[in-house]
């Protein structure tokens, strides 16, 4: 295993619980509406979806935050709902609202008719974006690929979009658990294929976003959200060939995986056993408690409240320090990737992110030097 074709492999090393010089940081939704340059590119594209489906423009916005901030990873600019869109549900975004499907799953027949898409055909634009971004990054930092979790995709596919009460999807869960499991099995296959295609196209780490696992009971979570994710992780290609530095040739390289269930703090022990290299946490879990509970089984990613960025510079630095201290100084076989506990708010001042990124790096170096 080698990470040497990268100029900055700190993020990958932290995920693999190898020593790092400082704590790496990236932000969920780091390429997004809080950046004026993003809003300009999106305006040129015409819509969010047109932007996500255009590999050149998706590459452009993926790199924008890296040009502003010393982030340690890039994440593919895309949407968590590309897979159901490729399955024929007709994804669109109403202005100022969340995602909607033109053809949500309303009956048994429409569920039984679903099949896993071929990611290299129906989701070709995503793979093209991945390879375009890798080329543009030229080894600056690693590129993260991602997908929604099977359960989270199922929620949107059945509800037809965002929901307050999860009534449609939970009615199916309670009334037709067999049909729900059929749907989840199809989605498990689809998500695994999709992530593997991203890895083949160049993704150097992958993340599964389980936005809605936290609305389930513990038993439902294990069965309908965690078990499908565990199967996805089990089917992933764990290594890919990367160009060797210098004279050429290829070298096998590990592709770490991250699983993030928003609101899943109570189930951390189970999540840490799903086979992923790292577990993402939202801000409701203390990282010190998390470490005490799972030891060095996984790296941890998180977990600043995105709205902490509404504070002034000193307040942001204090909140960063609080998260860094709660994880504590690095110890053998532990890894911490700093992140928010959810996507960055569109109302964030861009300068707040500079403060955050610099504070994480400075604090991480001081902590390692024992100068705190």
């Amino acid at each position: 295993m080698s990470l040497v074709s990268l100029r900055n492999d700190t993020f990958l090393r932290a995920l693999l619980r190898q020593p790092t010089d400082y704590t790496p940081v990236w932000l969920m939704r780091q390429a997004g509406r809080y950046l004026p340059e993003y809003r300009a590119t999106r305006a040129r594209a015409g819509s969010f979806l047109a932007l996500a489906k255009n590999p050149e423009l998706a590459c452009e916005v993926t790199l924008q935050p890296l040009d502003r901030y010393r982030l340690d990873a890039a994440i593919l600019f895309s949407d968590i709902l590309t897979v159901p869109d490729a399955m024929g549900l007709g994804l669109h975004f109403a202005d100022g609202e969340g995602p909607r499907f033109a053809r949500p799953l309303r009956d048994e027949a429409s569920i039984l008719a679903l099949g896993a898409p071929d990611p290299n055909r129906e989701l070709r634009y995503v793979m093209d974006a991945v390879s375009t971004i890798r080329q543009a990054l030229a080894g600056r930092v690693p590129l993260i690929g991602f997908s929604g979790s099977p359960w989270t995709l199922a929620v949107y596919m059945i509800e037809g979009g965002g929901t307050d009460d999860f009534r449609a999807v939970k009615t199916m869960l309670y009334r037709r658990p067999d049909l729900m499991m059929h749907l989840l099995n199809v989605l498990t296959q689809a998500v695994a294929d999709y992530l593997n295609a991203q890895i083949e196209a160049g993704a150097q780490a992958v993340m599964v976003f389980d936005t809605w696992g936290g609305v389930l009971t513990p038993a439902q979570y294990r069965k309908f959200s965690l078990a499908p994710m565990q199967q996805v992780i089990g089917r992933l290609h764990r290594e890919r060939d990367e160009p060797a530095p210098g004279a050429g040739g290829l070298v096998r390289t590990r592709v770490p995986s991250i699983v993030f269930t928003k609101g899943g703090g109570q189930w951390l022990e189970s999540i840490a056993g799903c086979g992923a290299d790292a577990v993402g946490l939202d801000w409701t879990t203390d990282l010190a408690d998390a470490r005490a509970r799972i030891g060095s089984r996984c790296a941890l990613q998180g977990n600043l409240d995105p709205l902490a960025l509404m504070g002034d510079e000193a307040q942001i630095r204090a909140e960063v320090a609080h998260v860094m201290e709660s994880f504590g100084p690095p110890q053998p076989a532990t890894g911490h990737v700093f992140n928010l506990g959810h996507g960055i708010s569109q109302h964030t001042r861009p300068e707040a992110v500079s403060t955050l990124v610099d504070a994480v790096h400075e604090y991480g170096r001081k902590m390692r030097a024992g100068r705190l």
Copy 2:
């Protein structure tokens, strides 16, 4: 201490961790839109708020679910936002939307101008409803009084209503923690006075609804949500005089308290130490785990997913059994009050509640008889 003026004191006994013949049950929002008779009374009242502010009609809807189902407690029909309304914020409900305040807290001056209302004057209609309901109940079951928690009231007062991202209230939390604490101190006084007035008027148990504590970090939760609730609980009148059965006179009677933080499962140990007799849990926490974590420090209330009521009769019975089994057979100094993990959905079939209530009672009796 005596509970003998009640014909059914099972609910109060369970809260006080005394032996009971079966597991008592009531449902959050049991007087509500899923009942056609409620919709009829509300139509007569003209609006939700007119209904809540009319003691006779509030009494009528409070009793409606008791006439249909063998529930073990009544809960005052009211809203969690009556206190800020009495503080001058102007509560109203737009059709099909949640609560809104006409005058949300937007600046420091408006916060510093706030004072705790006199519940027997500005909230007289609530006290009148409590005494009217007590009279109408005539000892059938105990009456629960309630309030929103200081933090939850602050969220609505600053946001001006419901919110997706809690940006206004969290911006104040991060930027002006001093001002937030000032507001919470005023609300702590107001909520304690309000609940004590309800107890004086006849409430036989009280519940604090902390709907939004779960959006905080662990440290913020302890400081801004739990500590104010702990102060409220500490200021409550723990006993009230009840008419003695038979020849007359008065007897001192315990008034148990319940604290419920939605999404607070991770912090159960801290919540159990706040001085309340019982802790409410949503469906994301397993009751067996909860018991293992807090032992017999508190009774537990909960925790069926309200949408489990979307299932058919056999499915509802199975879900009830699952919750009952997870709490397990009663042991000395434990208490379980069956409830939902959140308010009942307006889309619930009324027959589903019959199934639920009967299943809880039957299962609880069988469990006590060792016939499972």
